[in-house]
């Protein structure tokens, strides 16, 4: 069964892995992914992002249907992979050793 609205079927191959509702899940997914995987996801979604936003804007933020909410989570994941893809060319931030800085609270959706 499709996870995303039919207009966005080209993104369907990424939905299962990248539609993640919370930041800690997205961050863990980023650290566990290869650059090739993130690049492929970024290349598929970035050019269609404006179209996705326009689609989501048809709904009130707090009344997104389930498939639309998954699209929003996909955009959050695009943000999550943007630093590795656009700047670092690696999944984790350079020069941070074993430091960690973790999210404890975030808005929903």
């Amino acid at each position: 069964m499709a996870l995303l609205p039919p207009e966005f079927s080209t993104l369907e191959p990424f939905a299962e892995e990248w539609c993640l509702a919370s930041e800690p899940e997205r961050y863990a997914k980023r650290l566990a992914s290869s650059m090739d995987e993130m690049q492929a996801f970024y290349d598929a979604l970035f050019p269609r992002a404006q179209e996705v936003i326009a689609y989501l804007e048809k709904f009130p933020l707090h009344e997104l249907p389930e498939d639309a909410q998954r699209l929003l989570h996909l955009l959050y994941s695009l943000i999550m992979v943007s630093f590795p893809v656009e700047i670092w060319r690696q999944p984790y931030l350079p020069d941070t050793g074993t430091s960690s800085f973790e999210l404890g609270e975030e808005p929903v959706p």
Binding site: A49, I53, S82, T96, S99, F101, E105, E106, P107
Partner: protein, 428 residues
């Protein structure tokens, strides 16, 4: 003596430098012994953290009568319960049952903070119950106890006052100043619609550095083009790296201080100076590009205290361990630096936005939060390295530039408070 020289768009006070504008600061190199000595940390705990007003949260975390949260204060080896009573008063208590000392409020792991809502607190051990105003209301098998008067066994209360929705506590038996006296005119001049800016992202990290070594990186704008130099095309711009970044205005009031810089929201930059994602979501390190509606007429009083034309942000440093940063586009963030040991701290960053009205606004918030997290994480790694360098004691005296006036001020205030405590302690 050579005077510091800044580009003409960043004029210095008539004394020739910001540092000399506050002569009590001096201009000599400083020692960071106070950041590497376990003995000094023991003094700081008594002299600073058990005497100053400390921010532990905001009123929006206690929305209803009976809402509470617990707050670990390792620096004072205690935990607090902060609660909104049935009379809507916010109170703070030590999180300790009067019967046999058990931690009163906790979930699953007594070392973790918890929150919730209740009508009374019941101890998990023998079921002693307390009202939300701290009164002991019931003892199981009360007749077994010897002449006990419940009125003498309420929770141990901690001084608690609220300013602009920020909940402060003071661990002293009798605080030397009220919260407003302590905050002073520069901070209490701030009148910001905090109650309209309530969408919250909260981050925390356990970092192996002294709290002041860590805080210092968040109170100077000298390091960003270098430490964060590879994060985006603006930071890595050669001209920018050569020129450096300047704080437009500094101000000191008692133990508190502020530094103000020019704007930087990416909307004003050419596309080649941006990461592609920033252009897509109109947001980035300096927050969303589009102004939020703060729901008030005019500019919030107390901000931009230097009345600068191209104002971008104020970084208010409230002694000892709390900072509020206000951004020109209508959002703010707070930092808390909670010491855990002389070389370890809990760092908390909380971002506050006007609640998103649509997907576009929400995405701009998400990108700002994600970006700030990465920049902060970069600071975390480096400051552990600084702590290691300092602890080697190979170098014991460090030159601070005029841009690092706020670091110099914190260093001095901490030493002054510890000296004052020592003096009073030896006199007594």
């Amino acid at each position: 003596m050579m005077k510091p020289v800044a580009p003409k768009q960043y004029p210095k006070p008539p004394e020739g430098s910001w540092t000399e504008h506050y002569p009590e600061l001096g201009t000599a190199p400083v020692s960071y012994e106070s950041s590497i000595s376990p003995e000094f940390y023991e003094l700081e705990r008594e002299a600073i953290f058990k005497r100053a007003w400390l921010n532990v949260g905001r009123v929006e975390q206690l929305r209803r009568k009976g809402s509470f949260f617990s707050k670990e204060l390792a620096v004072a080896k205690t935990s607090l319960i902060v609660v909104r009573g049935m009379d809507d008063q916010i109170r703070a208590f030590h999180n300790v049952c009067r019967h046999r000392g058990n931690r009163l409020v906790w979930t699953d792991d007594p070392r973790l903070e918890s929150k919730g809502s209740c009508r009374q607190f019941a101890c998990k051990y023998h079921g002693w119950k307390y009202d939300l105003d701290g009164k002991l209301s019931s003892i199981l098998q009360e007749g077994e106890f010897f002449g006990i008067d419940k009125a003498n066994y309420g929770l141990v209360q901690v001084h608690c006052e609220v300013w602009q929705g920020f909940i402060f506590i003071n661990l002293a038996k009798e605080p030397e100043q009220s919260l407003r006296e302590f905050l002073g005119p520069m901070i209490t001049a701030i009148d910001y619609p905090f109650h309209n800016v309530t969408e919250r992202f909260y981050y925390r990290g356990d970092i192996r550095s002294n709290w002041k070594v860590f805080l210092d990186a968040f109170q100077e704008f000298y390091h960003p083009p270098i430490l964060h130099g590879r994060q985006n095309p603006v930071m890595s711009n050669e001209a920018y790296q050569r020129m450096g970044f300047y704080t437009m205005h500094f101000q000191i009031d008692g133990p508190h201080r502020v530094g103000c810089t020019s704007g930087g929201a990416g909307g004003l930059l050419p596309p080649e100076a941006l990461n592609p994602i920033e252009g897509l979501f109109r947001s980035g390190l300096f927050g969303p590009w589009d102004h939020a509606d703060l729901g008030i007429e005019g500019f919030p009083p107390g901000l931009n205290p230097g009345h600068k034309k191209h104002w971008g942000l104020d970084s208010f440093q409230i002694f000892p361990n709390f900072a509020i940063v206000f951004w020109e586009t209508g959002w703010y963030l707070t930092y808390h630096y909670w010491p855990l040991a002389h070389n370890r701290l809990l760092f908390e960053a909380t971002l506050y936005f006007v609640p998103a009205r649509n997907v576009r606004e929400r995405l701009a918030h998400e990108l700002a939060a994600t970006t700030i997290k990465e920049y902060a994480l970069q600071d975390c790694g480096t400051l552990e390295a600084t702590q290691m360098g300092l602890e080697s004691r190979v170098v014991t005296s460090f030159p601070l530039g005029d841009q690092e006036l706020m670091c110099r001020h914190l260093n001095k205030v901490v030493n002054d408070w510890v000296d004052d405590y020592r003096r009073k302690h030896t006199e007594a």
